[in-house]
């Protein structure tokens, strides 16, 4: 394989900015900090960089996440990095947290009572955790009785799940669809 070196200065600036940023950096930001980094050029530059990393067998690469670019270590090195972080890694989300996030993602802005009604359980503790982990945030007050606080998902939510927008998630299936699946199931009782 011919290993072409990247000589383009702008590509290197883009690389430096992505490397230095601690959160995903958007194309607009890259352009703002580096005039030559025209939005149309950025993706090409990132692809060239990723190709270079692959050719050089680097332990990291650039991913597109939460509407921006971010340098991350490759999956293959996860076990060593976990050791580095030792006890400091964030714990995985609980089933309750994931369900609550699902409701917020597709119903936002949404209030606690609405979430609790869908899940059938109180979700105060879960909301607190999600706020602390910055996966959700307040988005004003609703119209209903007591003007309940409303919640929405954050950019950190997108980053955490490795997606660019809520549209990247499969929409909740419609109830009709759920029922259809139920009917389609082979029924043992019928001879």
């Amino acid at each position: 394989m011919t290993k072409e070196r990247i000589h383009d200065q702008t590509t290197r600036v883009i690389e430096a900015l992505i490397f230095a940023s601690d959160v995903p950096i958007t194309a607009a930001q890259l352009h703002q900090y580096c005039e030559e980094a025209a939005p149309s050029k950025i993706r090409k530059a990132v692809n060239a960089l990723n190709l270079e990393y692959t050719q050089q067998d680097r332990s990291f690469h650039i991913i597109e996440v939460a509407g921006g670019y971010q340098m991350v270590t490759r999956e293959a090195y996860a076990s060593w990095i976990r050791k580095l972080f030792h006890k400091r890694l964030r714990s995985r989300l609980t089933q309750a947290a994931l369900e609550t996030l699902s409701v917020i993602a597709f119903r936002q802005p949404v209030s606690r009572p609405e979430i609790a009604a869908i899940r059938g359980v109180n979700c105060d503790a879960v909301i607190k955790t999600l706020l602390e982990r910055k996966l959700i945030t307040l988005s004003g007050r609703g119209e209903g009785p007591g003007k309940p606080l409303l919640y929405k998902t954050t950019r950190e939510f997108l980053r955490y799940f490795g997606i660019n927008s809520i549209q990247d998630l499969p929409r909740p299936r419609e109830i009709e669809e759920l029922l259809k699946e139920d009917e389609d199931r082979p029924d043992d009782a019928i001879e």
Binding site: T73, R88, E99, S102, G162, L178, L179
Partner: protein, 251 residues
């Protein structure tokens, strides 16, 4: 007791971790291969009640919502038994199960999304970016030299420690297993565990020490171990400012 709870590992009984009454109902419906729009209320109600009883027996916290749902199920069961009398209104009387079924289906939609999120989380947790390092950093003393002079670290009272302990216990994952006849860990085990942790770090925030502990029992035993280590002066405890993080420091 349903068979699947009798775990292979001897004394431990594993309970599926039901997030709420709807979760338990969906589980029963799936287990019994029941048509969700034609739930046999009588049998589902009795199974549901059995599970709730068992949760109580195992000392699991049974949330109020579980009891409320039990009442709802019984109410539906009674209404199904009553002869269908047309109320004086001209509306046809609705299937008493309709509201429950609607609720179950609505919940199921989002439960499916949660499964997708779970897969995505799993994949994403194998990538590490600089913000992950930044997050981890806040648990490393900021300036190794400055922050640990006695100036702004206060010695703390047992009450502060108990408050921190209660927070950990309150935030502990809901118990999914219950030790029936033997306690899995001993105070001595946990003393060794704590000393092992402090071998590497010298000082660790209290709540970090307590993360990753699987259940309440282990948390309680670990706390007893901390008290023992303080008593025997092998461990020193300090707090960063009033109500700040509590640090466990090797003596």
């Amino acid at each position: 007791m349903p068979e699947q709870w009798q775990k292979k590992e001897g004394y431990t009984v594993s309970l599926p971790n039901f997030e709420g009454p709807l979760d338990l109902l969906l589980y029963l419906i799936r287990k019994e291969e029941i048509d969700i729009v034609d739930i046999p209320i009588a049998s589902i109600t009795s199974q549901y009640l059995e599970y709730v009883e068992l949760m109580k027996e195992l000392d699991l916290e049974v949330a109020g919502e579980f009891i409320l749902m039990a009442a709802t199920l019984i109410q539906i069961k009674v209404r199904m038994l009553l002869p269908k009398t047309e109320p004086d209104g001209d509306e046809e009387s609705e299937d008493p199960r309709a509201e429950l079924i609607r609720q179950l289906l609505e919940y199921k939609r989002f439960k499916e999304v949660a499964e997708t999120l779970n897969e995505k989380e799993d994949r994403q947790r194998r990538y590490f970016a600089r913000c992950d390092f930044a997050w981890a950093k806040q648990y490393i003393p900021k300036e190794e030299t400055a922050s640990f002079d006695r100036g702004f670290m206060n010695d703390i009272s047992l009450f502060d420690l108990l408050t921190a302990f209660k927070t950990v216990l309150d935030n502990a994952p809901r118990v999914t297993s219950h030790q029936l006849s033997a306690i899995g860990v001993t105070v001595q085990d946990q003393i060794n565990y704590i000393l092992g942790m402090l071998e590497k770090e010298n000082r660790i925030p209290f709540h970090i020490m307590m993360t990753d502990l699987q259940d309440r029992l282990t948390i309680i035993v670990t706390f007893m171990a901390i008290l023992e280590l303080i008593r025997t002066k092998r461990l020193h405890v300090q707090q960063a400012g009033t109500f700040g993080d509590i640090w466990l420091i090797k003596q």
